[in-house]
């Protein structure tokens, strides 16, 4: 079996250059590639385009990359929780493209699946539809949306094997599987890396074909944005 294993996050991100287009998995802070983000912060990068559902918070996730002024453009569906983001956006340092969440997910899926464009009802009659082709199918209007692809996709999984097969946990799956397929080079970080053959092939979410490099991450913080609990 092809071995995709590399040593650590530092080695994983060493070929990422300034002005690259990156996809980063996660929804909020759930399922984000923490180790790769930390390693990127150690590199003198600028002008990155980041495709990610959210933009982290001020002191965690993509928020840390914003603080280092590495990001030129964010492509997201919701960017609410970040003051530095707001400052850079209002000052014109940062460009942002907001996309309906389902359209974002499908554009990434299309990118990985070789579908250059598709029609969706989301955004018809709104600002999102301005300048886009509209077509009627069976009496309803749809927008033409194009695929998204990236130079590098950084994804996070729960378990992975040396062949690059991935299994996610809970709602940490979110955008990770589609991004894994839509990156020219996909880097997977996992909480537990096992030899090929140890994961049940029936349970694999992302087949290893999409993954170029895999490494065992460390010191996962898994920060919680809204800790809500009940008493009993």
């Amino acid at each position: 079996m092809i071995n995709k294993t590399i040593k650590n996050a530092e080695e994983a991100v060493k070929d990422i250059g300034s002005h690259s287009v990156l996809m980063l998995g996660g929804f909020g802070l759930c399922g984000i590639p923490e180790n790769c983000i930390a390693a990127l912060l150690e590199r003198p990068l600028k002008g990155l385009t980041c495709i990610s559902n959210n933009a982290g918070v001020d002191d965690f996730g993509i928020g840390l990359m914003l603080k280092e002024k590495m990001v030129k453009k964010m492509i997201s569906s919701y960017v609410g929780e970040n003051k530095e983001f707001e400052r850079q956006l209002l000052s014109g340092e940062l460009e942002v493209e907001l996309i309906p969440q389902g359209t974002l997910a499908e554009r990434i899926r299309a990118g990985g699946a070789g579908i250059p464009a598709f029609f969706t009802p989301a955004g018809v009659g709104t600002e999102v539809g301005e300048g886009k082709e509209i077509r009627e199918f069976d009496g309803k209007l749809y927008l033409l949306e194009r695929w998204l692809r990236a130079d590098f996709s950084l994804v996070k999984a729960w378990k992975g094997d040396t062949a690059g097969n991935l299994i996610y946990k809970g709602t940490a799956r979110n955008f990770n599987p589609m991004m894994a397929a839509a990156g020219r080079i996909t880097i997977a970080e996992v909480e537990e890396l096992v030899p090929a053959g140890e994961l049940d092939p029936n349970a694999i979410h992302t087949p290893g074909i999409y993954v170029k490099y895999i490494f065992q991450g460390s010191n996962y913080e898994k920060r919680i944005e809204q800790r809500t609990i009940r008493k009993t």
Partner: protein, 219 residues
């Protein structure tokens, strides 16, 4: 005038057995607290879960299990997890029966605005545009008027819209209203102690008042 909890409680009466339901952030999330025990329904979270349970206890908290509002949650028995493309596939595909969400404005033909205020920091639409473009039934939960006292039930939306001709029912702190296919808000129920003329005063769009408009009933 109804509290947010009472609005949620009234909306819960719209829920039918066997439905798959997506609840938005804010008042819609509270609806989950009032779903009658005898109904079997499944709550969908667009970040990849069918079967949202209650908030976890301290020792059940799992950072890998959150709802679309980024709150920690639990799963009910029989839950299913999936990725975001699958999640919006089931939304756009019309498999989710009911979407309940908040709004800044609704127009008399069913347009909704809830994502952007010009001049203010725009946070994004999240999944709202996908949800309103495809759910079979959309109920809006909101205050009848803004904090400044301006009607939010309008002839036409003034804010950038989220979706066109998609809202069918609205529950506010004053009333339950239906949007008629030919346009206009039909008054279905009044909040206890609120008169139809008060509702008329606070509704800018076309309001249709039947001869008999009952008060909302709560158990």
């Amino acid at each position: 005038m109804l509290s947010k909890e009472k609005i949620a409680q009234r909306i819960a009466k719209e829920i039918k057995n066997g439905q798959y339901i997506n609840l938005g952030i804010g008042i819609p999330t509270l609806v989950a607290n009032y779903i009658p025990d005898e109904l079997e329904v499944v709550l969908q979270s667009e970040n990849g879960l069918l079967g949202i349970g209650s908030f976890p206890t301290e020792d059940q908290v799992d950072a890998d299990l959150i709802n679309a509002g980024k709150q920690t949650i639990s799963m009910v028995k029989g839950s299913a997890l999936f990725d975001s493309a699958e999640s919006f596939g089931m939304i756009r595909g019309g498999h989710v029966h009911l979407t309940i969400l908040g709004a800044m404005e609704v127009s008399e033909n069913g347009d909704i605005s809830n994502w952007k205020i010009p001049g203010k920091m725009v946070k994004g639409m999240g999944g709202a545009m996908d949800l309103v473009s495809a759910a079979r039934q959309i109920i809006v939960a909101m205050q009848h008027c803004s904090n400044e006292g301006k009607s939010k039930l309008l002839k036409e939306c003034r804010l950038p819209i989220t979706g066109v001709k998609c809202v069918r029912k609205i529950v506010t702190d004053l009333a339950v209203l239906e949007i008629l296919p030919e346009g206009g808000f039909k008054l279905i129920e009044r909040a206890p102690g609120v008169s139809a003329s008060t509702i008329q005063e606070k509704t800018e769009g076309k309001l249709i008042i039947p001869s008999e408009v009952p008060e909302m009933e709560f158990e």
